[in-house]
Symmetry: C3
Subunit: 277 residues, 3 copies
């Protein structure tokens, strides 16, 4: 595979995919294009059973989409799913016969969180992983499936909290809320995920498919619901309110490595210190 933003290694039936899209792994057209290529190649290849996703950047797994290139990355998604929607690309991954595991260090916010939610399992570094759905700080519904997944994983009260307050959540709290499978010390995370991936890959594919089909029938929302969230996001993000807030955030460091180290605080201060408590 000739990929610009993903570096892929294969060991047995396990692909390990490292996301490397400097400076901060924003989800833009290049990364989406490469994800599409990866899925298109791996899905029909029966020698591949499990994919582990991790990041080459210790501070950022995927921080969110590139808000300046929404139309472009959506068109890349369409090349796999036939519709210009990241949500449908993510749902495709959830419904795939491939077993996907996210090994999370650094920040996964907004569509980054939605990407790991689309994976079949999520394990995160206790010391460094940070989770957030900050779209409501821009007056937006998360468009890539967070509402679908988080509500089912953590229930109404916690899902409302997470999506309304646009705060950062530690790996420990993310585990307690059900956002991820488990938070593990960084020192053992890699070995744990590698061992799990190879263990699963050692079992027959018929079991994988049967289990995924049955679990998805119960817990994966229908395509229409992902499409509706995606459309709602796509329309609102073009509005003057969202664009105004994004410009304001940009002027405070949004979409920069430095500025997003403490993004949750910055978003809380957008309207000035009068709203800070």
């Amino acid at each position: 595979m000739n990929l610009e933003t993903l570096s892929v290694s294969k060991e047995g039936a396990v692909l390990t995919v490292e996301i490397a899209a400097p400076p901060m792994n924003l989800l833009g057209p290049e990364l989406v294009r490469d994800l599409v290529s990866l899925i298109k190649e791996a899905e029909p290849d029966e020698a591949v059973k499990v994919i582990v996703f991790k990041s080459a950047d210790p501070d950022y797994f995927i921080p969110h989409v590139d808000v300046t290139r929404i139309k472009e990355y959506r068109q890349e998604a369409a090349k796999l799913v036939g519709e210009a929607s990241l949500a449908l690309l993510f749902r495709h991954l959830s419904a795939s016969r491939l077993i996907t595991i996210a090994q999370i260090e650094g920040r996964v916010r907004a569509a980054g969180s939605e990407f790991v939610l689309a994976c079949d399992m999520r394990f995160a570094a206790l010391e460094s992983a940070i989770f957030g759905q900050f779209e409501p700080a821009f007056g937006q519904l998360p468009g890539g499936g967070a509402a679908q997944h988080l509500t089912r994983l953590m229930g109404r009260g916690r899902a409302l909290e997470v999506m309304l307050c646009a705060q950062d959540y530690s790996a420990e709290l993310a585990e307690r809320y059900g956002w991820i499978n488990r938070a593990l010390p960084t020192a053992i995370l890699g070995d744990f995920v590698r061992s799990l991936a190879h263990r699963i890959a050692g079992f027959p594919a018929t079991g994988h498919t049967a289990v995924k089909n049955r679990v998805n029938a119960i817990a994966l929302a229908p395509v229409e619901d992902f499409r509706r969230d995606s459309d709602t996001f796509g329309e609102a993000i073009r509005g003057s309110q969202a664009q105004g807030r994004i410009r304001d955030a940009m002027s405070h460091g949004f979409q920069t490595r430095e500025g997003e180290m403490t993004l949750a605080r910055m978003l809380g201060d957008l309207d000035g210190p009068s709203t800070r408590f």
Copy 2:
């Protein structure tokens, strides 16, 4: 607002509502009437985005309904929702555009628990909050939505346990079971909730509405289910079995401040020490 049992203060777009219905914050006609007035006034007022509910009584948030005045408080609820049902009043609150946060100290049992379950988020004092659904001790299904919410929040096994055993649950266990968002030390609870409320209120209302609509579409039971639970409760509570057990409980301190400090134990002893293990 001219309210007898609620004291309301406004700071920015956040209303803080303190429940003060001595001697123990029973949910009777006065408190329901005031809740209806509050909602009627706040809902169309775009200057209000978030409501925080707390209690003026450190031992009781809301212990349960006044079982001697069921018909009266139901009629107050009808003034907002058109039907004499507390469950439908609570569901109205869940479906409202207003963001509601319960800051819980003291006892929330039966309809008190159902009130906080109807709020969008629940944070409770580690040291003092106590949770219970004791209706089955009177042979009753909880009528205000507990079955709908608890089953979805904590799953079949824990919901059955909680509703069948009529026990008291600490804030720590309530958090572990998903009954509440989080249990926090009393010393920081107030600041945490105030900060959260103002943070959310600082974000655009369009995001609030989009998130609540989507989460409710997934996790808030339909009106019919609340109505059915409400009707089941309303019919059974008038029966001779329930009335007999209520009279018995009354003679042991039910609906008194003192008697309900250890209500769970008292309910377990209603049929005499032979059933105590």
Copy 3:
């Protein structure tokens, strides 16, 4: 009751049922026959309200079905539910008016886990209880309801993990994932369950029925879904892939007390050390 594999004692309205099917409590025709007899006798007897299930074997609660006698035990199940399906027998128990509590010490894997999932509540010994759904190690979907229950109890990500990796889970982790109500120290487990059972039994049966009906309407999957899982399992287990892996496992100690003490490790090694990481 004249039962070979269950020893039953009655105290008030609580039956305590100890599973004793040496050498390791495999779920075979005798145990299923006795479960059917127990349910047939207890269900119409209004003097019985609660059943506690525990094991006479400290290492094994129920390890799984006897894979050499599937047709036979299914025929025993049919004597209660009219169809040769363990899943439908388990679902019958979940839908029963009887309140069932599993007090778990030792191993509950595969159909053993599914049996306790069918109970209304599950409490497990912190020190000794071990949980697993290892069917996918044989290329199989769990056929007795695990997919239905686990997906609803722990959400998509954790349910996929548990069912795809065929690992052992401690009581502590099982509690964290929502597989069980609570993990408790062995020293207090028995008293806790006994007290809970008698407390519930002391409350009116009308409340039990109302609560179970309402919770089941929300959280217990329909008969068709259990039947489909059961059929999927029944067909695949006869296939050459499953039979080959079962023979292989048998040669490594599967279905023996000794061999299953560390079953999860053995299943990971079935295809040789090359797949071990």
